[in-house]
């Protein structure tokens, strides 16, 4: 029996021993040491030399002599940042952090390079065996793809790029819109002062909200010069509204064919908080004598004519003709609601086009007075049934409104008991229905569940 007791004890010891030696790594791993040493490379060429190898037309192989395989390294400072997605599969470098004399773009399949090669990062790049060429005029290092310069594969790219321990601030070169065609500034970081987005872009967004196509937005200076700012449909800031002030813009100077174009890294490159130029700040320009009423009865003196010119939905009951309250004590259109009047964003009326509207048009002007807890949105219809949207937003004095992406009722209106003039800017908006009599031309919309007490008068177009 003794013997078997021993077996029991021994086997239990065996069991405990096995359990103790059967460790499996838990998931507590320590952070590995990341190599932060300066790479040991001999820099034996530079951006300007490599760019100089290009003879036009086809990309040229970068080498130190015919067929030589000698390693060639150049150094550069990263100026691009692909985190926002506006720049994609391109790494822009220039030869100095300040006052550079040359810049170039490396075209690669690599993405998310900002994590390791962010702006200001000094890098070494092995260029032998690659090609120097131009993509639509932009000097580019890449691989040869037919007669074009193509993207370097990720692994090849990673084996060629080395990260210095130096990271410094890049000081953009300040230039004017007059010198955007200076080739020596191509693919470098530049800065413009006193620029703004043109009037017709106010209310627009950086990118294209409907799809992922890139869009060209212009910026202008106070001397009337302008240049293209190209924004990707993949940029994560594409739905940010464009700033409405005047100020500075930092960007990479690029080119597409004959057009210089700018690429920002992200909206922090755009600092436009100063007052715009070109706005005189005085009274708005009143409608000229050429202006005609937009729709029948648009001065509200003949109510039946007005009602007769609306589409089949007619007018909401809370909108009435108000005698003696209009401009110069004429009649006006009065809209009066309380929060319980409407529980949807209402079309107050939609009016049809009338004969005799101007074929060339630039704006619609009208007058309004009163207050409301939400704002007003207006549609100007095109011949194809689509329409431009204009949102009055916060309004307390005369204003010029540019078209927007969609109808919005945010904001409050209070004219302080005075008539103000509202101008809808139709500049650059093609296809407004000035021809198809009896089809929609104009609609007025208000927001739901809000107080409105507004008077409107004299809708004219010219």
């Amino acid at each position: 029996m003794r013997k078997f007791q021993n077996i029991k004890i021994l086997s239990f010891l065996f069991l405990i021993g096995l359990i103790a030696t059967s460790c499996v790594h838990d998931d507590d791993y320590s952070v590995p040491d990341i190599n932060m040493e300066e790479p040991n490379v001999t820099v034996n060429t530079d951006i300007a030399t490599v760019k100089g190898m290009y003879r036009g037309f086809e990309p040229v192989r970068i080498e130190s002599g015919d067929g030589s395989n000698r390693e060639m390294y150049l150094e550069g400072y990263v100026i691009s940042d692909d985190e926002s997605g506006n720049i994609f599969k391109q790494l822009f470098i220039q030869n100095a952090p300040e006052n550079p004399s040359a810049g170039v773009v490396i075209s690669t399949q690599a993405t998310d390079m900002y994590t390791k090669y962010g702006p200001g990062q000094k890098i070494y790049f092995r260029v032998d065996g690659l090609y120097i060429g131009e993509y639509a005029g932009l000097p580019t290092i890449g691989i040869r793809q037919g007669t074009d310069v193509g993207r370097i594969e990720i692994d090849d790219f990673e084996s060629r790029i080395l990260r210095s321990t130096t990271k410094t601030e890049i000081v953009p070169t300040t230039i004017t819109l007059g010198s955007v065609n200076d080739e020596s500034k191509l693919a470098t970081l530049v800065k413009f002062e006193g620029v703004q987005f043109p009037d017709n872009l106010l209310g627009q967004y950086y990118g294209n909200l409907d799809n992922t196509f890139s869009v060209n937005r212009k910026i202008e200076d106070c001397d009337g010069r302008s240049v293209i700012l190209r924004n990707s449909g993949y940029a994560d800031f594409k739905n940010y509204p464009l700033p409405t002030g005047n100020g500075s813009l930092t960007a990479i100077l690029s080119v597409f064919g004959n057009d210089a174009q700018l690429m920002i890294r992200d909206p922090r490159d755009v600092q436009m908080n100063e007052p715009r130029c070109g706005d005189d700040g005085g009274d708005p320009e009143p409608p000229s004598t050429d202006a005609t009423l937009v729709f029948a009865g648009a001065d509200f003196e003949d109510w039946n004519a007005f009602i007769g010119g609306l589409n089949q939905f007619g007018i909401k009951s809370y909108a009435t003709q108000s005698l003696g309250t209009g401009v110069d004590n004429t009649a006006s259109l009065n809209i009066a609601t309380t929060p319980t009047t409407t529980d949807g964003n209402d079309y107050v009326f939609t009016a049809n086009a009338i004969a005799g509207l101007p074929n060339q048009y630039s704006k619609i002007t009208f007058y309004m007075k009163g207050s409301s807890s939400k704002s007003v949105s207006l549609n100007v219809y095109k011949t194809d049934g689509e329409y431009y949207k204009f949102n009055l937003g916060d309004l307390s004095s005369s204003a010029t409104i540019v078209s927007a992406e969609n109808n919005q009722y945010n904001g409050t209106i209070n004219t302080g008991g005075n008539w103000v003039q509202v101008t809808l800017d139709l500049g650059g908006l093609p296809g407004v229905n000035v021809t198809a009599v009896g089809q929609n031309i104009f609609a007025l919309k208000i927001g739901k569940n809000a107080d409105y007490d507004l008077h409107f008068d004299n809708f004219t177009i010219e």
Binding site: F14, L15, S22, Y29, A110, T111, T115
Partner: protein, 920 residues
């Protein structure tokens, strides 16, 4: 109500009074070697319906007026023991006290069980697509066909009669263990407890169970009561190259002690740094304790607790291109760090269970079993997150040669070669690069490791009444209650060298990118919750009643059930894409489901050798919680068109049984109606009118799904000589969609659900293991306690899991709502043809030997080699959701190697398992 109670009482009283004049057969069953009493032995009087079970002290009593008198045969059956047939003389209207009956351990059987259980357990809790294995349910079955299905077919994910594990019920001490979340038993909650789970009562299909209404795939009640274990201990060591490399286990049972107490304990550990597939670690401990006090002859109180914390590394499904490059053991989820294989996808389960069981023998014919259970703990599934950084998956399609060859500007051979070289030579996660990216960037983590986590608390209670109303009638009734609170969230585990994590969704912009508008732009650290957080509350009440009627030539039963289930989501985050009140934050609509059902069946005993049985059932089940909310991580929206599922089932069997041949032939038909299913994936080729982008991360919701399972199964066993047994099994079935379900998709990329109408799935096969399986085998048992067996198993008609979205009108519709210009119906039919996997044959060899060291000590050895000829075979696969339309799919299939080809799982090649144990 009172009337009902009154009448039940009357019935009970009547049955008590009936006892006085009965014939009684009493006896006690003991272990031959140890002389310990053996509990739970089935004792039958052959050719009658009179039977009993031994209690903890090994005693049994058979009552009844109509007990046949004279010379009769008693049959004693207990798993792990040699079945006994002993002649007895029964005198009527008196108590017949038999001498003690000795039963001998069936060593071969006991060892086979050890091997079997370890074989299937590892496959039970696999990842998506393979989680539905039911073989665990069948382990206790002694049916020839079902043991083949459990032991030899399970490695192929063969599903008996086409059912998933959610169609089978697992009970422990009478409490249902299937999860309310997905209806499936979480096998790893009791993994490694093999030595204390031998005692299982299996009910095949819908036939009558004394615990539950049951479900289509059958039910198993695992009895884990201290008093029910035979006195003694066992120590074992097992080694294999399947999911774990080593297992040690020790257990001891006291048996019922003289003072009325009994206890049982078990300790086990299973481990592997790498299992069969690359990088699949396994780290599991198991603890079990049970204490029971027999208060008096009528009352016993048992407490059972088990805790089986386990972690395992998952293995990826891969395209054929990847398997061709890296072999069938390849797993893309791991990479080396600190010289160790670090797996990025680890599943961790830690959900201890506590239960209190009361057994009340109200009368010799009536027992009431009342149970209360509580389970608390968590499950976690880790994965790598990446924001504004390249996908870290080494097998990401852009890293594979096919991507370069499919270049739209013509094949890029150089790129393909580079990708080939890199993938062949490395092809694993580059952990160093992930740390490097985070550290060099210096900001919040771009790469991070997190866990999708459920913290669950579940209370269960039930009471089960079993009463032998008359000699011929047995009544079973049960009431069950379950309540679950489940907190689901993402938990940050490792920032991989970064400084915190900014919790915004970089695929969205503005408010929509916020995971929680109530707490926007939060930077979180290790251990914090982020991405999503919500609670699910579920409660279920159901009742069931059953009458079993036994007569000399016919047994039959009828049963009915009724239940109520409710689910409600409570969002803890206000998701930026769903900011409205109660759309994501706050409580969802409360979903209520009423379920009911009835079943019945009979056995007609033609004579001692031939019998016919048939079962029929019609019942409804609630949809699972998983399939009730269309996108529970982000919002409160419930599935549109959700309803209770309806099940209709009939089966009939012919049974032939002689001392030499045992055979069963069954035909079955079942229809599962009104099901719903949700899947999540990134789709390319979604055509929504007015939306130019055709890619989106979507939730695909399928409702009104009807599935039909029809087929036959055969099991036959012949004891050719006392030492040689031949066996055969065959399954011939079809599991198909019986209608065209409705499909819609939702996504945070577009506002409204997009309805695509019907998904034309009718007559496609429901994926999951081979539909046909055949086995031939033999077993040799030497009287000198050694044995071996060989089986050859042939499998065919396995099908791939098809993409329902590709079978809707989306397949041929462009974004303008019109069919694609180049649409060719003939080619479309080719493209949508369901892939059938190749047939294959697996040969399994098992054997063992045991030695009796003295009266009490046994040493045993068991070994098995499965798939001895190292056959490579696919166990499953699915079409990728990326190719959602004709254009993308035909473009992809035009390539020599598809970029978005189906992903597959491969079964194990040749593998072994060895177990050595000492029993005392």
């Amino acid at each position: 109500m009172n009337k009902i109670i009154l009448s039940i009482c009357t019935v009970l009283l009547l049955s008590f009074s009936a006892i006085a004049q009965s014939t009684v057969v009493k006896g006690k069953v003991l272990d031959t070697y140890s002389n310990e009493p053996i509990p739970d032995v089935e004792v039958d009087i052959q050719g009658s319906n009179f039977h009993a079970q031994t209690d903890a002290e090994g005693t049994f009593e058979i009552f009844g007026d109509a007990i046949p008198e004279g010379e009769q045969t008693l049959i004693l059956v207990k798993a792990g023991y040699v079945t006994l047939r002993i002649p007895v003389m029964i005198a009527s209207n008196q108590t017949n006290q038999l001498v003690d009956i000795l039963m001998a351990v069936d060593l071969a059987e006991a060892e086979a069980q050890i091997g079997i259980i370890s074989l299937s357990e590892e496959q039970l809790d696999e990842d998506e697509g393979t989680a539905s294995n039911v073989s665990g349910l069948l382990q206790a079955s002694r049916d020839v066909f079902l043991s083949a299905a459990s032991f030899d077919f399970s490695s192929t994910f063969f599903r008996p009669r086409g059912y998933d594990s959610e169609s089978g019920k697992v009970l422990i001490n009478g409490l249902e263990m299937n999860k309310l979340y997905d209806g499936r038993p979480q096998w790893s909650n009791w993994g490694g407890l093999n030595d204390v789970q031998r005692n299982q009562l299996f009910t095949m299909g819908m036939s009558a169970s004394e615990y539950t209404f049951g479900d289509l795939a059958g039910s198993t009640n695992i009895i884990m009561r201290a008093s029910q274990y035979r006195k003694g201990g066992r120590i074992s060591y097992a080694s294999g190259n399947r999911s774990y490399r080593g297992r040690v286990m020790g257990s001891y049972n006291s048996g019922l002690l003289a003072n009325g107490w009994a206890y049982s304990v078990l300790l086990a550990r299973r481990y592997a740094n790498e299992g069969y597939n690359e990088g699949t670690l396994y780290d599991a401990n198991s603890f079990f304790a049970s204490v029971e006090k027999k208060i008096n002859d009528n009352h016993s109180l048992n407490f059972t607790a088990f805790y089986t914390p386990n972690r395992r590394g998952k293995s990826s499904a891969n395209t054929q291109e990847v398997y061709d490059l890296k072999g069938s053991k390849y797993n893309s989820y791991w990479g080396y760090q600190e010289g160790e294989m670090r797996n990025s996808r680890i599943k961790e389960v830690e959900e201890p269970v506590f239960m209190l069981n009361h057994y009340w023998t109200i009368s010799p014919r009536t027992e009431l079993n009342t149970n209360v259970g509580y389970q608390i703990g968590h499950t976690g599934n880790t994965r790598l997150g990446y924001d504004n950084a390249p996908n870290p998956d080494p097998a990401y399609y852009q890293n594979l040669p096919s991507f370069f060859l499919a270049n739209s500007d013509g094949p890029n051979y150089e790129g393909a070669y580079r990708a080939y070289e890199k993938f062949i030579n490395d092809g694993q996660i580059d952990w160093y690069n992930l740390y490097e990216t985070n550290i060099l960037y210096g900001g919040t983590s771009r790469y991070y490791l997190y866990e999708d986590r459920n913290d669950d608390k579940q209370l269960s209670a039930n009471t089960i009444l079993n009463s032998q109303l008359t000699d011929n009638i047995q009544l079973t009734a049960a009431v069950n209650y379950r309540n679950l609170n489940s907190h689901n969230y993402a938990k940050m585990l490792d920032l991989l060298g970064g400084n915190g994590y900014l919790d915004v969704d970089t695929f969205n912009q503005g408010d929509e990118s916020q995971s929680d508008l109530n707490n926007p732009n939060k930077v979180i650290g290790k251990g914090d919750a982020f991405k999503y957080s919500y609670e699910m509350n579920a409660s279920q009440v159901d009742a069931f009643a059953q009458g079993q009627f036994s007569y000399s030539t016919v047994d039959f039963y009828v049963a009915g059930k009724y239940g109520q289930t409710s689910y409600q989501r409570n969002g803890l985050y206000r998701n930026g894409s769903y900011p409205d009140e109660n759309d994501s934050f706050g409580k969802s609509e409360k979903l209520n489901f009423s379920t009911y059902g009835a079943k019945g069946g009979f056995t007609y005993k033609i004579n001692g050798k031939n019998a016919i049985t048939a079962n029929g059932s019609y019942f409804t089940t609630p949809p699972t919680m998983r399939n009730s909310f269309s996108n529970s991580r982000q919002n409160n929206r419930t599935v549109i068109g959700l309803t209770e599922e309806t099940n209709v089932n009939v089966d009939a069997s012919y049974i032939y049984r002689t001392p030499f041949i045992k055979a069963r032939l069954t035909g079955y038909y079942s229809l599962l109606q009104d099901g719903s299913e949700i899947s999540f994936f990134y789709a390319d080729g979604i055509s929504i009118q007015g939306r130019t982008a055709t890619t989106a991360f979507i939730q695909e919701v399928l409702t009104d799904i009807d599935k039909r399972n029809v087929g036959m199964e055969l099991g036959i066993e012949a004891q050719v000589t006392p030492t040689i047994k031949l066996k055969g099994a065959a399954a011939y079935g079809q599991s198909t969609y019986a209608n065209n379900p409705e499909l819609y998709i939702t996504s945070d990329d577009f506002v409204d659900p997009q309805f695509f109408g019907k998904s034309f799935l009718k007559d496609y096969h429901v994926a999951g293991g081979p539909e046909q399986a055949y086995q031939l085998g033999f077993e040799y048992r030497d009287p000198a306690f050694w044995w071996f067996g060989v089986t050859a198993n042939y499998f065919s008609h396995g099908y791939i899991n098809i993409s329902p979205l590709a079978r809707t009108k989306n397949f041929y519709t462009d974004t303008d709502g019109m069919p694609f210009a180049d649409y060719d119906a003939e080619k479309a039919r080719q493209l949508l043809k369901q892939e059938r996997f190749d047939d294959y044959m697996l040969v399994n060899v098992v054997g063992g030997k045991s030695w009796r060291l003295n009266r009490q000590y046994f040493l045993g050895f068991f070994a098995s080699i499965n798939n001895a000829f190292d056959k490579q075979f696919k166990t499953g696969g699915f079409e990728q959701g990326r190719n959602a339309n004709y254009k993308t799919l035909s473009k992809d299939t035009a390539n020599d190697t598809r970029v978005f080809g189906p992903k597959y799982w491969y079964g194990y090649g040749a593998n072994y398992y060895i177990n050595v144990y000492l029993r005392f």
